[in-house]
Every structure is written in structure tokens, then in C-alpha cells.
């Protein structure tokens, strides 16, 4: 199951994005494939949610176009399955007849858009563009975050402790008093922290700490 879209390894956002289509209707699959190819988008089609889950997906910015009405498992149920498996791919729903409760449920669960068949091609393409952009951003964020995590992991427990206090806005002296070490030692830790975390400035480090969810209360949360 390696290479899932959202897995935080070896991401290369430069790669061509992919549109995944899951629809049990072959003509609709082919039509969508045709449409996306005509605008130069890479597209992969699946006849069922199961097929989609079974396949090895390329690790690129992507989105999923899902027919609400799927045999055995509805699109909405599949959306929940994906969320549970922490597969965060933007979803565009299609339906033969949109009803409001279904739309609301889909949108609440984070769907990018909800299109009623037959839809305007531009609406679909716009939705796909939005979704891919959203995925690219979230993939970038995920990549940044995972870099941070990796760097944060190189800090010693003491350095993590110091980083939490530094980013909480405490002066070196206060930190030294807080954890009972010499002020000079605090300074050395800070230097290591800035280098290991590749922080350009204190505000930069503070933002990193926020992203990592590091607060003054504990120096060891959120690995």
C-alpha cells in the first residue's frame, strides 16, 4: 500500500497531476477520460471503489471524481472509508439527480464540488482544477510539515525543551531559571536548535513550532 496519494514520502509536486474517475458506467468513464485528455490532464478510470483501492496510485497531486451511485457501496460511504484510512484526496461528486441532504453530507465531509449529470464541461474542469490545486497545496503543506517533523526528530530532549520555551517567548535567563541550567548552555542549545531546524530567525522558528503544535506546556508532543 505504499505510494498512496497522501503518504508523506518522497513527494514531487513537479510531477504531472492525475485525475481519478470512479464510475460504474463505462460510457461515463470513457467520456470523462476523453474530456480530461482533451485538456491535457492525466486520467485514470476505475469501475468501482474496490478497484480504486486495489490499485497502486502515483504519488502526485490528484483528485477523485466519484459517482454518488455506486454498486454495493455508495460514493458517500466510500468517502467515509477514505477519510478513515487517512487518504486525503479531494473528491468531486457526480450524481444523476442531486438531492440536498446528499449534497450537504458530501460537502460537510469535505467534498470539493457536487455536480449533477449532465454537467457543463467547464464546471467539471474548474472543479478539477480547484481540487488539484487544493491537493497540491495540502501536499506541499504535508511535505513541509514532514520536513519539520524530520528535523524536529533530530533535536535532543533538552533541545526540544528549550525550543518550546524559546518559542513561547521566554528570555534566555528565564529559560535557564526555568529548567535549572546555565544561561550560556541555553544559548548553545538555541544555536543548535536554529541550525538543526534550519530556522532563519526566531519568528521563523515560532511558526515552525506552531506547525508542529509545540507549546510551552510540554516539550514532547506531536511527533
Amino acid at each position: 500500500m505504499s505510494g498512496r496519494p497522501a503518504s508523506p514520502h518522497t513527494l514531487t509536486s513537479a510531477e504531472e497531476p492525475v485525475v481519478f474517475v470512479v464510475d460504474d458506467d463505462a460510457s461515463m468513464r470513457e467520456a470523462l477520460s476523453n474530456l480530461f485528455r482533451s485538456v491535457g490532464l492525466r486520467v485514470e478510470v476505475f469501475g468501482s471503489a474496490h478497484e480504486f483501492l486495489q490499485s497502486t496510485l502515483p504519488n502526485v497531486a490528484s483528485c477523485l471524481i466519484l459517482d454518488i451511485r455506486l454498486p454495493r457501496q455508495s460514493g458517500l460511504d466510500f468517502q467515509a472509508v477514505l477519510a478513515k484510512a487517512d487518504i486525503r484526496i479531494p473528491i468531486i461528486f457526480m450524481t444523476g439527480h442531486g438531492d440536498i441532504p446528499m449534497t450537504v453530507r458530501a460537502m460537510k465531509a469535505g467534498a470539493v464540488d457536487f455536480l449533477t449529470k449532465p454537467f457543463r464541461d467547464q464546471d467539471m474542469l474548474d472543479a478539477v482544477t480547484t481540487a488539484i490545486e487544493r491537493d497540491r497545496v495540502s501536499r506541499d503543506e504535508a511535505r513541509v510539515l514532514s520536513g519539520l517533523h524530520a528535523r524536529f526528530a533530530t533535536l535532543t530532549p533538552r533541545e526540544r525543551e528549550v525550543m518550546a520555551l524559546v518559542t513561547a517567548g521566554l528570555m534566555n535567563k528565564q529559560i535557564a531559571a526555568e529548567i535549572g541550567i546555565a544561561e550560556i548552555t541555553v544559548k548553545i542549545h538555541r544555536g543548535h536548535i536554529m541550525r538543526k531546524m534550519a530556522a532563519k530567525s526566531l519568528p521563523d522558528l515560532v511558526r515552525m513550532a506552531e506547525m508542529l503544535g509545540i507549546g510551552p506546556a510540554s516539550g514532547r508532543q506531536q511527533t
Binding site: 460510457s27 467520456a31 476523453n34 485528455r37 454498486p71 455508495s74 449532465p118 464541461d121
Partner: protein
């Protein structure tokens, strides 16, 4: 007797007359002699001599007369005896004839021109419950019931007009006690010696024969009436001569003029031209084999109307060894018409329920049309984009257009299918593959399955032999069973809702279709009524669905039944006989 007495008295008178004449002469001579003037004179002697001579002559005369009389008496006596014999013989004969007349078991009447009974024999009177004297001098009409009297009068009048001619007729008489009897009367008017015109009538009691005849006539009437009521005529067909004898009802059915017999050729002309050859063949074959036969055919009447008849015949061999058929022919037009009306009513009802079912499937159908339409629209947009490229990608554009054509056709097919389904078509049985029909139905209920969260499993083995069926009607049956299955699973929350459709060839080489659900099942108390019209356990619905399904399946020669599953749910199944080349 009288003559005998007369003769005796005459004989004694004669004797007395002769005796007294002799005595008178003798007295006169004696007196003259005694008292005469000259008793001794010669003249006296002469006179004495003359007297004696006269006496002698008288005596001789008396003897002669006596002898003659005896002779005469002897003759007369002989004659009387002969006469006596003749009279005796006559009397005997008369008694004998009287005996015959009185007791011969024939009623004899003799009436005068006015109809007054002059004579009647004892038997005749007794037969009518009267004594002879009660009838003599009475009007003969007394022995006729009121309604027959004028008949009797007119018959007698005819006899009187044709004197000497015998006439006969049958008539009802009434006894003294009021009971009636039928008689055959032979009558003749004759003129008596005294010139009186009389009518002699001899009657014979024919009541028994008449009753038997009546019973026979009654029986024939009953038979004719029964034939008329049942529209069944009888016939006899002599194959050797091609001659047919018909009952009254048969004439009525064929609308032929009544005749003692009809010709087979003429009858065949009345048979509908489309059936004629078949009828001829059936009769020919039966005649050849001398076997019973039964067949149905149509008659084309001169007014252009058509009758449906059914004929059966039993073969018998006549004295000459020829085959003869005794049969019955029934006019079944009424039944045929009722059957076709029933069939039409069922078709109408089936149509209504089909339309109703389709109404319920509207969302499914809309989806089925929308799906290819969405593909068409998307492809069309893609096609434009292929063309708008620099340079235009014609290969892709062409491929896309081909997809558009395919999808457009697909949408059209759905609409065709729906239209066919709601069309009111007559039976169109054709060989078809059951799996195709199942798939056509499934294509209409996809949405229904989805919206009710029902998983569908199809077990349709390929290469099943075709069945002879009406596609639309079969679709209706399967659709109904599928919808029923879906609805039966609606209350189910704790287990998967699964509908399984299977087709296979059963042990009897019939195609078997089963539709199983995992729904609420069939309550035992409802199992028998499931297929009754207007029986439903649903809040909506007419309860016609399964009833119609059963009649459709029956009309195809199959059987629809329901059973509970070993697990939850119910299974509906129906059989269909295979299509055989020779079955058409």
C-alpha cells in the same frame, strides 16, 4: 207355438163339425122315418137306404178326413220341427254373434245422423265406465271431452258425407269417472233398410301406444331442447356415401335448410376456408383408420360471421362393414368470445399494472436515460476541445463522435424498452433467451436497487435453450418479482439486503427462474393467498401484481410459486417450457 195351437184347435173343430153333421143328418132321417106319412113305403126304404148310405158315406168321409188330417198333421209337424231347428240355429248364431258383438275387445257404436247412440256393445260401454243402457239414446258426444267434441262432430259429418266409405282417426275420449283414453276409430255411414242413415263406429283403445308415443316424443323434445340449450347438435356420418344425418340443433348451428340428410361436401363448404383442409384431413384420417376423433374448427356463415365449433365423433362399423361416425358438434363461439374477452381484460389489467409499475420506476428510468445523455454531453464537449486544439486532433474527435453515437443509441434503447413496456401489444410469443430478458429488467431497476441499498447477484448460466414467450409479459413478471423482493427487504436493517436472480434448466427440462430476497419472508397464513387478486400486505398497491404474474406464467404453460427461504427471506420461482421447433 202359435201355429201349433192353431193347428190343434183347427183339428178338433173339424172333427166336431163332421161328427155333428153326421149326427144332424142321422137325426133328420130318423125323425122323418118315424114321423113320416108312410113308414113302410118303398120310398121310405129308399130313404132308409139313402140314409144308411149317407151315414156310411159320412163315416168314410170322417175316416178320410181323419186320415188326411193325420197326414197333414204329420207334414205340418215335420215342417214345424224343421222350422224349430232353423230357429234354433238362428238363435244360436245370433247368440254367438251377440257374444262377439258384446265382448269382442272393440268398442262398437251405432249412432244416428244426429249423433244419438242407437247401439253400443257391452265392452264399449264398459271401457268408458258406463252400462249399455246409460248410453243408449244419449248423444255420443257424452263420451268426448269438451275440447274433442267438435273434432268428433266433424269426423262424423265427414262420414255422413261419404256414405259407405270407411274413415279412421285417433281421438281422445273421456270415461264416466273423468279419466281419458285414446282410441283409434274406424267409422262408416250406412243407410239402413228403413232408409235411416246411421254411422257405425268401431274403436280400439290405443292409450298405451299413445302414451308410449308421447313419452318418446317427450324424450325427443327433451333431447332437442337439451341440444338447443347446450348448443350441441348430433350427427351421423356414413363415410361410404358421404351422407350425414343431422339433428335439429346441428341444422341450426350450420344454418342449413332442414333436410333428411346432407352431403359432406356441402358441409365442408361451410367450414372456414382456413380450416377446411385440416377438417378434411381429420375426417379422412379417421375414416381410414376407423378411429374416434375430436377437432375444433370455424364456420364461415353466408353473412360473413364466424362460428367456432368443436366436434367429437365415435366410430362404429355398420352392417356392411363400412365405418360410420356418431358424433356431437358444439357451438363454442360464445365460450371462445368469453375467453377472448377474458384474455383482453387480463391484458388490459396487465397493461395498467405495467404502467403503474413504470410510474414507480420513473426515477430509475430517468437515471437510465440520463446516464448516456451525460456521457453524450461530456463527449461532445471533449470533441469540441479536440477540434479546438492547434492542430485539431481529428483522430480523437472522430473516436469521441463514435462514442456519442453509441451513447445516443443507448439512451434511445432505454426509451424504446420503456415504450415497448407500456405499449398495449397483443401476445407476441417468440423464441427468446431468458437471460436477456432478465438483463433488460435489471437495467430498469438499477436505481431502485441503489436507492434501497440492495445488492444484486445474478447467476445466469450462459447457453440456456430459448423459451417461447412474450418478451414484454416476461419482463413484467420478472420486474414484479424484483420490485417485490426489493420492497420485502426495506424493513431489514440488521443484515445485508441481497437479491439473487438465478436461471437454470430444471429436472423436467424447463427453464426455471428464481428471485430470492433476504427480506421479511412470507407469513405462513398468507402463503396461499399471495397470488389471489387484490391480496396485498403493502400499504400501497392494488394486490394485482402477483395475480397477474401467475396468469401470465400460466398462459405460457409454466407455473409461478413462492416459498420461504431456509434463511431469512422468500424465493419466488417460475418455470417456462422450452421452445421446440415443432411446437409452432
Amino acid at each position: 207355438m202359435m201355429r201349433n195351437q192353431t193347428m190343434k184347435s183347427w183339428r178338433s173343430a173339424e172333427q166336431w163339425l163332421l161328427g155333428s153333421m153326421v149326427l144332424a143328418l142321422a137325426m133328420a132321417a130318423f125323425i122323418w122315418l118315424v114321423l113320416g106319412p108312410a113308414p113302410a113305403a118303398p120310398a121310405y126304404l129308399t130313404a132308409v137306404v139313402l140314409l144308411i148310405a149317407a151315414l156310411l158315406a159320412s163315416l168314410i168321409m170322417m175316416l178320410r178326413v181323419g186320415t188326411t188330417r193325420r197326414q197333414m198333421e204329420a207334414v205340418l209337424h215335420g215342417r214345424a220341427r224343421a222350422e224349430q231347428h232353423a230357429i234354433e240355429a238362428l238363435r244360436h248364431s245370433e247368440a254367438q254373434w251377440k257374444e262377439v258383438f258384446e265382448h269382442n275387445p272393440v268398442m262398437y257404436f251405432m249412432v244416428d245422423a244426429a249423433g244419438i247412440v242407437l247401439s253400443v256393445n257391452t265392452f264399449g260401454a264398459a271401457q268408458l265406465g258406463y252400462s249399455v243402457s246409460e248410453l243408449l239414446g244419449q248423444s255420443v258426444l257424452k263420451v268426448f271431452p269438451a275440447e274433442e267434441r267438435h273434432v268428433a262432430q266433424s269426423k262424423v259429418a265427414i262420414c255422413l258425407e261419404n256414405i259407405g266409405q270407411t274413415h279412421s282417426w285417433e281421438i281422445c275420449k273421456v270415461r264416466k269417472d273423468g279419466s281419458s283414453l285414446w282410441v283409434r276409430e274406424n267409422a262408416k255411414a250406412v243407410r239402413r233398410l228403413d232408409n235411416q242413415l246411421i254411422v257405425l263406429i268401431a274403436c280400439e283403445d290405443v292409450t298405451e301406444r299413445k302414451l308410449a308415443e308421447d313419452a318418446l316424443r317427450q324424450s325427443e323434445m327433451y333431447l332437442a331442447e337439451a341440444q338447443r340449450l347446450s348448443r350441441t347438435g348430433s350427427y351421423g356420418l356414413r363415410t361410404a356415401s358421404g351422407e350425414i344425418v343431422w339433428s335439429e340443433e346441428t341444422f341450426r348451428i350450420f344454418e342449413f335448410e332442414r333436410a333428411p340428410s346432407v352431403r359432406l361436401d356441402a358441409v365442408l363448404q361451410r367450414v372456414h376456408p382456413d380450416d377446411r383442409v385440416r377438417v378434411q384431413q381429420t375426417i379422412d384420417r379417421a375414416s381410414r383408420d376407423g378411429k374416434d376423433f375430436a377437432h375444433g374448427y370455424r364456420l364461415l356463415m353466408p353473412d360473413g360471421s364466424v362460428k367456432h365449433v368443436h366436434a367429437t365423433a365415435h366410430a362404429v362399423t355398420d352392417a356392411a362393414g363400412d365405418v360410420e361416425f356418431v358424433g356431437a358438434v358444439t357451438d363454442v363461439s360464445f365460450r371462445k368470445r368469453a375467453e377472448s374477452e377474458l384474455h383482453e381484460a387480463q391484458a388490459n389489467l396487465a397493461h395498467v399494472t405495467r404502467v403503474t409499475a413504470l410510474g414507480e420506476l420513473a426515477a430509475s428510468i430517468a437515471h437510465e436515460v440520463n446516464q448516456p445523455l451525460a456521457a453524450v454531453v461530456t463527449n461532445a464537449a471533449a470533441c469540441l476541445r479536440w477540434l479546438d486544439r492547434e492542430p485539431a486532433n481529428l483522430k480523437e474527435a472522430r473516436g469521441t463522435l463514435q462514442s456519442i453515437i453509441n451513447d445516443g443509441n443507448r439512451a434511445g434503447e432505454v426509451i424504446q424498452r420503456v415504450r415497448a413496456f407500456v405499449n398495449k401489444t397483443a401476445d407476441q410469443k417468440a423464441p427468446l433467451h431468458i437471460n436477456e430478458v432478465v438483463n433488460e429488467v435489471i437495467s430498469l431497476v438499477q436505481h431502485e436497487l441503489f436507492s434501497h441499498r440492495v445488492a444484486l447477484r445474478l447467476e445466469l448460466p450462459p447457453a440456456l435453450p430459448p423459451v417461447l414467450a412474450d418478451r414484454i409479459q416476461l419482463q413484467q413478471v420478472i420486474l414484479n418479482l424484483v420490485i417485490n423482493g426489493i420492497e420485502a427487504m426495506q424493513p431489514v436493517k440488521d443484515r445485508p439486503r441481497e437479491l439473487v436472480i438465478r436461471t437454470r434448466l430444471d429436472e423436467a427440462s424447463q427453464v426455471l427462474v428464481t428471485v430470492s430476497d433476504s427480506g421479511i419472508g412470507v407469513a405462513a397464513e398468507n402463503a396461499d393467498r399471495l397470488f389471489d387478486a387484490f391480496f396485498t400486505t403493502k400499504s400501497s398497491g392494488m394486490g394485482m401484481g402477483l395475480s397477474i404474474c401467475r396468469s401470465i406464467v400460466s398462459a405460457h404453460g409454466g407455473r409461478l410459486s413462492a416459498s420461504g427461504n431456509a434463511g431469512p427471506g422468500a424465493t419466488f420461482q417460475f418455470t417456462l417450457p422450452l421452445h421446440r421447433e415443432d411446437s409452432t
